[in-house]
Symmetry: C2
Subunit: 330 residues, 2 copies
């Protein structure tokens, strides 16, 4: 009988997780019980929040040494006693970093045929895209003509956010970690300009590029970039707090921006948790499919082949070396 | 000819401003030019923002040594060539810390007869009340049944905020600087409970008194109390940033609460500047007059008699020794 392959957290990383923090191991094939479905992983989404699960601080749960790494997957139904999910059907589920997984039907979501390629169910039409859409459209309500600053602009969430805002007529200023990424943001994501955070003074450049202030800052990174953006907020500027990429590899936490500054700017700062928007996922997909068809929304995926290479890909993600949404094809 | 008396900033204080930082001096009586009005100060409002004007950080302007202290007053028109403001008329203006002041008519606002006593134009029906109303009703949209935490609850803004929230059916938890003030908050301001910040562990008590979390925190003080309140925020809790009393006497600024915490709580943090609500002042007064008539809104004023005693009263205010809205009767 076939066996399963799974990637287990071996040790809690200090700083950026390295491949040595993980082990690939063989395990017995999981067996579905009544009402359960056996799935084979096709695509695994790698996301920064996984670093927080390892650190024991994420609201979706923790991963401790010895546990299989968690993660969202697009999987194929292999064995099922349930009419709704026949073999061959593609589903979205929390398959984790493994080749096979077993789920109860209430934890499976069919991947519609119009999500093509199916990995888009993990990227532009998945949690990543939903995060960008919820943050920029529903929460910040970005309008045409506004100045929107997006760090990690070529990453999973950032790249979708930039395109959604540009499609609304907003002026998008990206921040990215290389000249190549900055070029991509301007040429392909609709950014009006992009700041190379490794070679430029981010705060000075924000001042130059946003002379009338930042209307919306999508905080995907935290740290000093959040501070710098707040110092350049326009009156009534909105800050959507979504991620803290700059801090995920550290155990100490950065404080937030000076409240006195937020008062003077009449800023509105709100925290975004994408799970809260799950009930609006279909609406989000309906809004985005035409944009994809029109070419206003493109998805660059940073695809790594082979489950065994997931740890190296995660290391690249957590050190900012990915270029596009990080996905493992299993 | 009569002369003016004015209080001048003598030196920039370190820490809490002391009477020695100010000088009372005699000056020539100001003379109104064409279109100007001479006013005699009746009541002077003392407010924490004045500490920031001295420090050069307030958006309404700065006061440097040698300048007459600024401040809002209820004054009586003494001499006027303008039909709209005849002698004897009570007006609200930025008269400053002095016995007489001259104003252009566009800087004068008549005090309506139904504002009685007229000092209420500086307290419950003035900027102080408007700040509380704008923060709690318009900005935080406090609803019945919500848990609202208000620090400096017996102070000018806090005491009005507490009563407005209680009148809406919210459960108000106050924070104050003495057992006597706490007793007053519960007995007279409608607070369900009140934490004595000098003798109790504020954070532990917030946890006990708000077991389902804080729905609205009205931040009038900044500093560690803001942090503590954020750690006890309910999901979707709102924080209205309005003042930083705990920091006004310091030159260093405290950072804001941990963004990761704000994300997890889906918090909404917004800065409040009362000047933005000036256009709605009449609406606010219309809403509050019935509450005053019904006894649902009471104003305790901490009145000091004599302009020469303003510096000592300001020292008391900035060290938290005032009890009620600080006003000087000139």
């Amino acid at each position: 009988m076939q066996s399963n392959r799974e990637i287990v957290l071996e040790s809690t990383p200090q700083g950026v997780p390295a491949p040595g923090n993980f082990t690939l191991r063989t395990a017995p094939m999981p067996e579905p019980r009544t009402g359960e479905v056996l799935c084979r992983t096709r695509f695994l989404s790698l996301d920064p929040y996984m670093r927080i699960q390892i650190a024991g601080r994420h609201l979706s749960g923790t991963v401790t040494p010895g546990d299989v790494m968690k993660g969202e997957t697009v999987s194929e139904v292999v064995h099922s006693n349930v009419a709704a999910f026949s073999p061959g059907r593609l589903v979205r589920c929390m398959g984790g970093w493994q080749a096979y997984s077993v789920h109860r039907t209430e934890d499976l979501y069919g991947v519609a045929d119009n999500i093509d390629p199916p990995s888009y169910a993990l990227s532009v039409l998945g949690m990543t895209g939903l995060t960008a859409y919820a943050g920029m459209i529903w929460q910040a309500r970005v309008r045409g003509g506004e100045c929107v600053v997006i760090p990690a602009v070529t990453g999973g969430v950032g790249s979708i956010a930039a395109q959604l805002c540009a499609a609304r007529g907003a002026r998008v200023i990206g921040i990215a970690g290389s000249g190549e990424k900055c070029g991509y943001a301007v040429e392909s994501l609709g950014a009006a300009d992009c700041i190379d955070r490794r070679s430029e003074d981010v705060e000075a450049r924000l001042g130059e590029l946003c002379p009338e202030g930042i209307d919306v800052y999508f905080d995907l990174v935290g740290g000093p970039t959040l501070d710098a953006a707040c110092r350049h907020l326009a009156h009534y500027g909105r800050v959507v707090l979504c991620g803290l990429m700059a801090e995920y590899n550290h155990t100490d936490r950065s404080p937030g921006p000076d409240p006195g500054l937020l008062i003077g700017r009449r800023a509105i700062v709100s925290g975004l948790v994408v799970y809260d928007y799950e009930s609006r996922r279909d609406e989000f997909i309906r809004k985005c499919l035409p944009l994809l068809a029109q070419g206003k929304l493109k998805q660059r995926e940073d695809i790594t082949v082979g489950l065994e290479n997931a740890p190296a890909a995660f290391h690249r993600l957590m050190s900012g070396q990915n270029f596009g949404k990080a996905i493992v094809r299993v």
